[in-house]
Symmetry: C2
Subunit: 530 residues, 2 copies
């Protein structure tokens, strides 16, 4: 059986740029376009040339290797000729291979927002599409507010769609601009449109205002649509756009879709989707959603003690898809509710060999529970967990011993009368019976402590050199003055780019940070000496 080709259209760089708090630079857009190419997206909508300097600069050259490089813009204005519409001319002058025109298809908005007649709007759609085709571009039309428009005046909405198709648009995209349409009515309306425009020329553009962006996209595909518009991690205005990172695995792994549809995404690229999703979060400086379908840190994580042992034995009956197919991994959480089997699963994953009858396992489990009750969260800090476990098993040497530390943060006027803040840390360590004292300044207390710590570690100095602190996160566990602070430090080896997390908990934020730092240093030494 031949499968239908389903096309993926990414609008992260255009509609995604409407997300509150997101403003892409040209450089960021270039990096994101590379990610999209790596994933195997068919169309990359890069922005709206002419709308702002960033988008104009981005469209000065083609920015994709494989994907069709697509510009967004408005149809020709009513009452002026194409040659006299600078917006359309900018689109035609850009390096875009395809042009996606946004057009009104709700008669109410034609009147109120455009202030022209229904006929003028239809003529604009036709002329704009014809101009793009004549200029050798692939043309498509985003029918804005299509579903609301269809409910208000079905004939007019269909006329707009038909006009775009007949004028030569490769794709007519049905947009649920307000995001309020539910799958049932959406399926019905798409069904009516396919009688006018073939499904192989229809696209869907859904928003998540009722939590249905993904479900609506798939409902449209079931009704015959063959292009899906969406964004990486579902970013977008208000509640976001359809999440391509969720849709792609469903389309490729679920039998109902896999049997019918073919995507431009390879199995190898699918296995990279978790890392692509996280890389994108890094670019937009957001912490990844730990509960995201397929790619979330917890998407294949189990906490329940009762299930844990069964999962390790028969994962396929507890997991709807194998985590490896999307580049994610199975996790059996070590937590308050954990039984010995969770703990064994985690130890196994970390490569720590221990017999399940070993009595030290009970002691370790008691340790973990006690420390988690204090606020430690080992599921987020593998390296600290590994240290705790190996310490119980007697496998961690006492590389160094911290005798004391002192940090001072001072804000004062300098000699020029400017207010400056200085942080200074002093650390006293014992290595091989020798006392080492170091002092350093940093741009904050934790940075100063880190610098002082790594200044002199005696014979371990070399082992620690490639380790660097790349992020730290602070969480207050109880409000008020009795608050307990949890600090999570992310470190990496500068040479191998391997990353690990360590944790510290204390009523004092500096103390908690120091614990996490010490764990990271110790972990580095443990790995270097094994």
């Amino acid at each position: 059986m031949t499968r239908d080709r389903l096309y993926l259209f990414d609008t992260t760089l255009r509609d995604g740029a409407q997300t509150a708090g997101i403003d892409f630079s040209v450089e960021e857009k270039i990096v994101i376009a590379e990610l999209l190419d790596r994933l195997g997206i068919d169309y990359v909508e890069g922005g709206y040339p002419g709308a702002n300097p960033t988008d104009t600069a981005f469209f000065s050259e083609k920015r994709t290797r494989k994907a069709t490089f697509t510009a967004f813009g408005m149809t020709k204005r009513a009452g002026r000729s194409l040659a006299n519409d600078p917006g359309v001319q900018l689109l035609l002058d850009s390096a875009a291979e395809a042009i996606c025109f946004v057009a009104k298809s709700w008669d109410y908005h034609v009147k109120v927002a455009l202030g022209c007649s229904n006929e003028e709007n239809v003529a604009s759609i036709r002329e704009s599409v014809e101009a793009a085709v004549a200029a050798g571009r692939e043309a498509m039309v985003d029918c804005e507010h299509f579903f609301d428009g269809y409910k208000a005046n079905p004939e007019y909405a269909l006329e707009c769609a038909r006009t775009a198709y007949e004028a030569g648009a490769r794709w007519v995209v049905l947009c649920d601009t307000n995001g309020g349409t539910l799958p049932g009515e959406l399926r019905e309306i798409v069904g009516a449109v396919t009688k006018v425009v073939p499904g192989t020329h229809l696209g869907i553009h859904a928003h998540d205002d009722t939590g249905h962006a993904v479900a609506n996209s798939l409902a449209a595909v079931e009704a015959g649509v063959r292009q899906i518009q969406g964004t990486l991690n579902g970013i977008g205005e208000r509640c976001g756009n359809a999440n391509l990172i969720t849709l792609i695995p469903t389309l490729m792994l679920k039998p109902a879709y896999r049997a019918q549809l073919e995507l431009g995404v390879s199995g190898e690229a699918l296995a990279e989707i978790t890392s692509i999703s996280r890389a994108f979060d890094e670019i937009i400086n957001r912490s990844p959603d730990r509960h995201a379908p397929y790619v979330g840190e917890n998407a294949f994580a189990t906490k329940a003690g009762i299930h844990a042992s069964a999962i390790l034995k028969e994962p396929q009956t507890y997991e709807h898809v194998p985590p490896e197919t999307v580049g994610n991994r199975r996790r059996v959480l070590v937590s308050d509710q954990a039984g010995k089997s969770n703990l064994l699963g985690e130890l196994q994953r970390l490569g720590i060999a221990v017999d399940k009858a070993d009595p030290r396992l009970d002691a370790l489990l008691a340790d973990v529970k006690e420390r988690e009750a204090q606020g430690y969260a080992y599921e987020a800090a593998d390296a600290s967990f590994e240290l705790l476990a190996r310490r119980r098993l007697g496998e961690v040497p006492q590389f160094f011993d911290v005798k004391s530390f002192r940090v001072m943060v001072e804000r004062r006027h300098n000699a020029l009368g400017e207010l400056v803040t200085v942080s200074e840390a002093v650390v006293k360590l014992e290595v091989d019976g020798e006392t080492l004292m170091s002092v350093a300044e940093g741009n904050g207390p934790v940075n100063a402590l880190d610098k002082a710590l790594r200044k002199d570690l005696g014979r371990y100095q070399e082992a620690i050199d490639a380790m660097e602190l790349i992020d730290f996160k602070v969480r207050i566990l109880n409000g008020g003055t009795d608050a307990v602070t949890r600090v999570l430090v992310e470190s990496q080896d500068r040479r191998t780019h391997k990353r690990w997390f360590t944790i510290g908990v204390s009523g004092n934020i500096v103390d908690a940070s120091f614990q996490a730092l010490i764990d990271s240093h110790t972990y580095t030494l443990l790995k270097a000496t094994r």
Copy 2:
């Protein structure tokens, strides 16, 4: 036309407790049960009495006012009598009004996980339900892995459901335990079940592993099911459970559902759903999802300049539901793309009178943009924004002047040989031309600074006495050593319980915290002297 009653079953306190990183205390469970009652939930599943000390304690008395207080537990074990099954006896001894038994309905799991025969499992379901009913409890059965089970052996899955119903279960709940079922197949399977158990006795329990928990719940309702199980904000194992906070507004506001179904949630409670959602996030110490359907900070936020003016004029054509109905609000973002009208709207909301032609508005807008570029986020810190605005308008006196501060954190062995960490802060202030110097110890640098600051504020001492710091949140804006730290401090007036937020941004965490503290003190004095 009479509408069908649709029942809402909340499992935040049971399945939600499987979320990685969440561990409820009894006190937290009590507060959450109150929230659920306030919302108008029909069933509150409080946990699994007997599984751990927290849940056992929680079930020592009835914890709901209106909702049916429900306990979760396993069906009787095969091979022993009911009287000899301590698990079932604990359920019957608890203060629960309803008991929800979890039962296997996939023959494969009956064999592998329970290790008993199919017939023994069916007998356990029947006897457990009968025992609960005989003890005067409402009984229900969660059919675990129902959809996978149905696909493997439809007759057996249906037999389990039928047995539960015939034994007297008020509800037979179809669980998509792995979360991998898609709406199309789910609808079909539910349709088959309704031929055996009436829809008015069927429930749906969906997980979000493909992003369809909400869509699947609604698909099941369309197929006849009349109970939905879900959680607050969709928390739950892996990718979470069906989000009741998303489902309730859709069911109550969308005509297709409103016309057919009646819920136990009132219109007044619906208007509180945004605040209930945020209160729950506060309890679990999570930052609210700004993009959540209906209740997210950005759910009705528009950034686009082109749309902004149209939205203010004709909101109903751009918003799928009115934000007030769910207690949320329309926002036209004060951001890089913000114009003066956004700013004026914010000032008006805070009760700051200023003429729109006032040239100081332009200066304030420039200030806001510059400071937001540095990392300030005024949308989260009303009090700091008000100070900034009133300063520009010349309305904030210089109550005091900080000349310098110094904080020291020291970790050392005390006289008893124990490791202790001490924090000490020194603050030098000028009030009315007089220099005041204070020193204090605290359980961390910020606490020490706060104590030193409030030790002597001269003639403002009294005004500051009722103010207290109740929480502070730290976010690192860029990773690595050049990180910028943003600190958000929440304070309250101990007498009025009024709360406010202030913000500080700096490369140095202590410096950022100090800025936010000073803003909070200044804000207190401003309010006390106006």
